[in-house]
Amino acid sequence: MLSRHGIRLLFQKEPAISRPTAELTQISQVILPFSFATEAAVVPAVSLYDTVNRGTPLAVIENDPLATVCSSVMGAVSGERIIQHPLYGTLNCAVIDCVPDVPAPEVPVLLPETITPELILETAERLDVIDELDGVPLILKLREWQETGCDFLVADGIEIEPYSSSAWAVLRDHAENVLEGLRLAALCIGAERYHIAVCLSGHRRRSIALRIGKEYLYQTDSYYPKADPVRYGKRDGRGTVKRSSRVYRIGVQACLALYRALYLGEVHSRCTVTVAGDAVPHPQNVSVPFGTTVQQVLEHCGLTEPPDYLVLGEQMTGTAALTSDVPILPGMTCILAFTAKAIRPVTTRTCIGCGRCVQACHKGLLPFEINRRYQNMHYERLASLSPHLCDGCNACSYICPCGIDLAAVIEEAKTAGNAISVEWKEDTDA
């Protein structure tokens, strides 16, 4: 389909990105789901008052062993809770009271020359490495890419949305290890070429390039969204990514976790999240164990009063949460807290047909026309405008000067084509 640039968003990454990443170690309690599987039979592997270590599986799932969640902390199971997670739905969770965990000294357990693709796969599965881009276990992706073949593997450190800077913080602190993790993943799937894609300002990019070599760093343009894989590596200095190239993405935190799993034998139990928004007194990137509640992280960043709006995820695609008592789980990299002053209710006006949504749509759709046909109930004519190609980036809703939530309309238009249409005929019974 058509590919466009999209829109430019104003970066709001300061001051979080300029502050050092905080390590949240003194946590009283974490909440971890037994499993992310919704249909498989989940048998809890731990019971009340059991002691768990980091990496202890919390459940046994026969059909889907990869759906098992491991404990991210050392502690004792103090209860069981069912929570409504805004991103993951209903989850049956174990509540674990933490005990102070003394981190083990970093001793390499493997030498680089002894690593084989099979060992990488086995380690990624055993130590539960998860890709933060979508919360999917890395092993699933690596196996799939091994089968399909890969020309180019890209570590996604772009952070194109306004507030999130967790990938930048990880790269700032561990660029060498991220690159090594990426090299291992590329070795595993047989990708000939790999690099880290970023969208950094000059001095930040230069400081990372000095450490890992500029040939491994690719500066992308600053248009949102970054959906087309070709845009992750057009001019990498070592050939050009063609439209026919098989380009795959992996998160920088997953690269780091893979590195740590292979060289240090560490289970993937922590993630770095950006805490920002106008309601947060001390915005920063925080490294937390999985299962830490959002409330604990917000308190660490100086938030004493509850904000008016809490968003799990980024400004453009995040989900609003109605409670802060939800755990941080794999796939979450940003928490935003806003006051009512920042998020004003949008006054919706009639479409003035300015066409800015058409220019913003990176899929080349006609959002204004979909909206018009949907509002006029011409459901049978919606399918010809291909609303199913929309990936929900929300760029059209963001840019619309009339405040129309075009992305929501397109989402509804995807299924509206199946709406019952009544054909009026002459009444033959009369």
């Binding site: 389909m1 058509l2 306004p162 439209r243 026919s244 098989r246 509850p306 904000p307 008016d308 709006y309 809490l310 968003v311 995820g313 400004q315 453009m316 695609t317 995040g318 989900t319 609003a320 949460a321 109605l322 409670t323 802060s324 935003l336 806003f338 009512a340 920042a342 998020i343 949008v346 006006r349 009639t350 479409c351 003035i352 047909g353 300015c354 066409g355 800015r356 949504c357 058409v358 220019q359 080349g364 006609l366 204004f368 026309e369 010809s384 291909s386 929300n394 809703s397 963001y398 840019i399 619309c400 000067p401 009339c402 405040g403 939530d405 992305a407 929501a408």
Partner: protein
């Protein structure tokens, strides 16, 4: 108590009036340039159009919802554009009537801003051109006139505009310098050629108007003028006279690029500009009026939606075929 909000949680702070204010800002130097030549009369003509348009929209709004809303400021733009397309000698009631027609007939009955098929300013001008042609196309001589009287303009020395001279098949004495400096008879907003070009650039930068319409429009008009001059003059003279005089440039910058009535898809925009140019040149050659660009705009407005849909389907189909031939 936490509140729910849909994504995107923050939006761009731009409002519909942003584009309207850009156009209004462009009308200020154009009117001021005319005022330098003819005194305060051009300003009053523009104001007459604006006030009449705003009042008409207010009254129509009262009829429609009982709660008129003019926050998008499009009525100001319509009135201002109509005023700026008038001759400095036009009576004050002509732009007022044009604005009433534009808002009351061409815009509000279709559903107001964003739903009108034809550009209201072009429709208002077309109405005035058909009803009052003798009051619309009589221009004062800028070299002989200092300041026009407000009411009785019968004693003002008039001159034939370059467009009228070309229309009658005669030659004109206006060179590049007099055309660029605006020393020729013409409508209020169209003689400041350099200002118009600056306005076009400003609107492009603001993203209020698209170069994909104006540039093909001007190129095709120039080609048409070079190939088929209306008088026995050199091709370069024909191009300069056709592009700089009359309402050709003005309608390209303001009327054709109106976001409501112009297509939104890139290919449709290019074709829209080309069709508008062809129609303009045809009307200039075979039309009855010396300024006929607003008729061309109205004609091409009716193709806008068709062009959008047709071009989008064509480009999508071509991309699909390309992907089928060389799958990723």
């Amino acid at each position: 108590m936490l509140k729910a909000s849909p994504a995107p949680h923050l939006r761009e702070a731009q409002r519909p009036a942003y584009q309207s204010f850009g156009v209004l800002l462009c009308l200020v130097p154009l009117t001021a340039f005319s005022c330098l030549h003819y005194g305060i009369r051009p300003l009053l003509l523009v104001l007459s159009g604006v006030i009449s348009a705003v009042l008409t929209e207010f009254i129509c709004g009262l009829f429609r919802h009982g709660r008129p809303s003019m926050s998008d400021a499009t009525s100001l733009v319509t009135g201002g554009l109509i005023g700026a397309m008038m001759s400095p000698l036009t009576p004050f009631w002509v732009p007022a009537i044009g604005s009433v027609f534009a808002i009351g007939i061409a815009k509000m009955p279709f559903g107001g801003t964003g739903r009108n098929i034809f550009n209201p300013a072009a429709a208002g001008m077309a109405f005035c051109a058909v009803c009052f042609p003798t009051r619309l196309f009589v221009y004062p001589d800028p070299t002989l006139t200092n300041s026009l009287p407000l009411l009785d303009t019968s004693a003002v020395i008039t001159a034939a505009s370059p467009t009228a001279q070309l229309n009658s098949g005669g030659t004109t004495s206006y060179g590049w310098i007099s055309l660029l400096s605006g020393d020729f008879p013409g409508p209020i907003g169209s003689t400041g050629v350099l200002i118009l070009l600056a306005c076009a650039l400003y609107l492009f930068v603001r993203r209020s108007s698209s170069p994909l319409i104006l540039i093909p429009y001007l190129i095709v008009c120039a080609i048409g003028a070079a190939l088929f001059p209306r008088a026995e003059i050199a091709a370069s003279t024909s191009v300069s006279l056709e592009l700089c005089t009359g309402l050709l440039l003005f309608s390209g910058v303001f009327l054709l690029s109106d976001p409501v009535t112009a297509p939104r898809f890139w290919l449709a925009r290019i074709l829209y500009g080309v069709i508008a140019a062809v129609l303009t040149m045809l009307l200039r050659h075979f039309g009855r009026f010396e300024c006929c660009e607003f008729f061309a705009v109205m004609l091409v407005n009716s193709f806008s939606l068709l062009l959008d849909r047709g071009c989008w389907h064509l480009v999508t189909w071509l991309h699909r075929r390309k992907e089928e031939v060389s799958p990723r």
